[in-house]
């Protein structure tokens, strides 16, 4: 029994406490509730930071619900476990950090809205769902957290229910999301029927050398559901509708975190930690790569033709998800080789970077909407004159997402180009074509920002403190992460990729016992 085991469950306890106590505090005072929510969120960030530090120093961690070890009197794991290695810890830290930024931002951004007694619990529940997904080591536990996250995000997308946009986007998102969730549950049910357990590591253990058709069908269903949830191309339409319709602070969380924690993270976990070498890695890897190539071309190309700023950012998210998927696909197709590990490290690096960049860009879009009341790019001409700080932050974010050298996006994209070119030159070329589209889209926005001011933009001004602070923090984070790209890659991203590929290690962590 050590400190880490006392602290670890707080990852889930703190947001739950905040969400449950917020309606009670609401009866007392609104200011108190906001301070309480901020404190809860900051505390969660502290906890994930400590867990990350611990895992970085001491290696993977196992936590058992309700007892000291997962076995009880049986000789196989019967309890719900949480398994945390470098990859999970990194994701958890990102989730908590960006969520805190979004919550600080909402204090001012949502001031004029009604229904805040629902907004703050929902946003904490969204954070809770994502944190739960990234820490859990149990398939059904994962499904529960996935649904917690999804239901909170459906409700948040439709939060502005006095506009038709929110409702229409909410309905579309909900139909697609619920269907995807059913596929995922069906996959989990098939896996449970086949192997009689839900602990991910134990399924992996039983699956090695005992691969059946049912398990392959389950993989197909899980992949279909998770590609739905991560907005991969044939089924990306909901993303471009849902993400712009939400309030901007929520858009930042949806685009920056939800599609990653609820899509890519768990897809990678299932592909590598559960199935791993038991399947034909080349075939499955190539399937993922084909989806990734489609996603990154279509997403980035669609971003170019948008006139709505948030819609442009949402399509750009689709495109960037393509890069991350590409890294995962190459990592699987070249399983265990150096190229594969490099590609996976690039994918993880880009996941973290994209969470920061896209959160920043959506928060800026929110600031612009807050000041001007419009998000049509044609009306935003010349905004750089009246909103200098915001525009500067936008340039940093856009340059990072394009992949300009001194910023963090460059490092992750470079690793992805390099590994894809090493794996197959054609894919490398496709990745670079995607970036060309991406550049075109963002240069257009920057060009608009620096154009001739019109009567509307002359009256705009930079937002207040609570909106500006998260924007500045995220900008600084992007710049600082850009200063040490290779150190970060070597110390954090490559170990995370190796932890993901190391299926034996994942199984061993389970059998080595708990607290």
């Amino acid at each position: 029994m050590s400190t880490i085991h006392t602290v670890l469950p707080l990852i889930v306890v703190l947001p739950l406490l905040g969400a449950f106590s917020s309606p009670i505090l609401d009866l007392i005072s609104r200011k108190l509730k906001e301070a309480w929510i901020l404190a809860i969120s900051a505390g969660t960030l502290g906890v994930t930071g400590y867990v990350f530090y611990y895992v970085f120093k001491n290696g993977p961690l196992l936590y058992t619900m309700g007892a000291t070890n997962p076995f009880g009197h049986a000789n196989f794991p019967i309890r719900i476990v949480w398994e945390i290695d470098m990859f999970n810890a990194l994701m958890a830290l990102t989730v908590a950090f960006v969520s805190l930024m979004a919550i600080i931002y909402s204090v001012e951004y949502m001031k004029r809205d009604t229904g805040l007694e629902k907004y703050y619990p929902l946003i904490l529940i969204l954070e809770l769902g994502m944190l739960g997904i990234v820490v859990t080591g149990d398939l059904f536990n994962f499904y529960v957290f996935l649904e917690i996250m999804s239901i909170a995000s459906y409700a948040l997308v439709a939060f502005r229910n006095d506009t038709w946009e929110g409702i229409e986007a909410g309905v579309k998102y909900m139909m697609v999301g619920a269907l995807a969730s059913s596929f995922i549950l069906l996959g989990i049910a098939l896996l449970y029927g086949q192997y009689g357990t839900l602990t991910m590591a134990y399924i992996a253990y039983k699956m090695a050398g005992h691969m059946t058709t049912t398990a392959k069908v389950a993989l197909a269903l899980l992949m279909a559901g998770l590609l739905f949830k991560s907005g991969s191309v044939p089924v990306h339409m909901w993303l471009a509708d849902a993400h712009p319709a939400a309030p901007s602070s929520v858009s930042a969380m949806l685009s920056g975190l939800v599609i990653k924690a609820g899509g890519i993270y768990i897809l990678a976990r299932i592909l590598f930690s559960i199935y791993g070498p038991s399947i034909n890695v080349r075939t499955v890897g190539w399937i993922v790569i084909i989806f990734a190539c489609l996603t990154l071309i279509v997403g980035n190309a669609m971003a170019v033709v948008q006139t709505d700023m948030k819609r442009l950012l949402a399509y750009s998210s689709v495109g960037q998800m393509g890069y991350i998927l590409l890294g995962v696909g190459i990592g699987l197709a070249a399983y265990g080789s150096n190229v594969g590990n490099l590609a996976l490290a690039g994918a993880i690096y880009h996941t973290v970077n994209h969470a920061l960049m896209k959160a920043l860009l959506f928060l800026i879009a929110g600031a612009v909407i807050h000041a001007l009341g419009t998000r049509n790019l044609n009306d935003l001409s010349g905004i750089a004159k009246t909103m200098p700080v915001t525009s500067f932050a936008f340039i940093i974010g856009a340059a990072a997402i394009i992949g300009m050298p001194p910023l963090n996006g460059f490092a992750s994209k470079w690793i992805l180009y390099e590994s894809s070119a090493l794996f197959n030159p054609v894919i490398g070329a496709i990745a670079i074509i995607g970036t060309a589209f991406c550049t075109a889209a963002y240069v257009r926005v920057i060009y608009t920002f620096f154009g001739r001011p019109n009567s509307l933009t002359m009256k705009a001004k930079d937002p207040g403190k609570s909106m500006l602070i998260p924007i500045i923090i995220l900008t600084v984070a992007i710049i600082v992460m850009g200063l040490f790209p290779w150190t970060i890659n070597k110390d954090f991203m490559l170990p995370a990729a190796k932890a993901l590929v190391n299926q034996m290690g994942y199984i061993h962590t389970l059998f080595a016992g708990g607290v």
Binding site: F140, Y143, V144, E147, I151, Y154, A155, A158, N161, W164, E165, I167, E168, A169, G170, V171, K172, M174, M175, A178, L179, S181, S182, L185, L186, A189, L190, Y192, G193, L198, D241, A245, V305, Q306, T307, D308, R311
Partner: protein, 120 residues
């Protein structure tokens, strides 16, 4: 020989997916989602079914009686899972119905073909 409850559950899932693709009324779509959920739940719960000899399994509640008589218990885990899945399904349905009401307010219709204002 595939047990018939598996066939039933997959039939339910196919009916739900069919309705989700071909029906246009929002309420029918919500019902389709519920049917899919029921199919998956049926599959899960039938995986936990146990039979020993010709004695069917009893409810997995420990009171000492079952162990005395040698009656098998059905698997408790799938029941817990299905209960959780039902709870989740209820909350999804409640949210979907409230969205449908709001959609009716804005569009004056529950036809999803009319909800096509978001484009591009």
């Amino acid at each position: 020989m595939i047990p018939f409850q598996y066939i039933t559950s997959f039939l339910l899932i196919f009916i739900g997916v069919y309705a989700l693709i071909y029906k246009r009324n929002l309420i029918k779509l919500i019902l389709a989602l519920d049917i899919i959920d029921s199919g998956v739940n049926l599959l899960l719960i039938s995986e936990g079914y146990r039979i020993a000899g010709n004695l069917p399994g009893t409810a997995p509640i420990y009171t000492g009686y079952e162990t005395l008589k040698g009656v098998p218990m059905v698997g408790p885990l799938p029941q817990a899972l299905v209960l959780t899945a039902i709870v989740i399904g209820v909350s999804v349905t409640a949210l979907a119905v409230s969205l449908a009401i709001n959609a009716y307010r804005h569009y004056g219709s529950l036809d999803i073909r009319k909800m096509r204002r978001l484009r591009g």
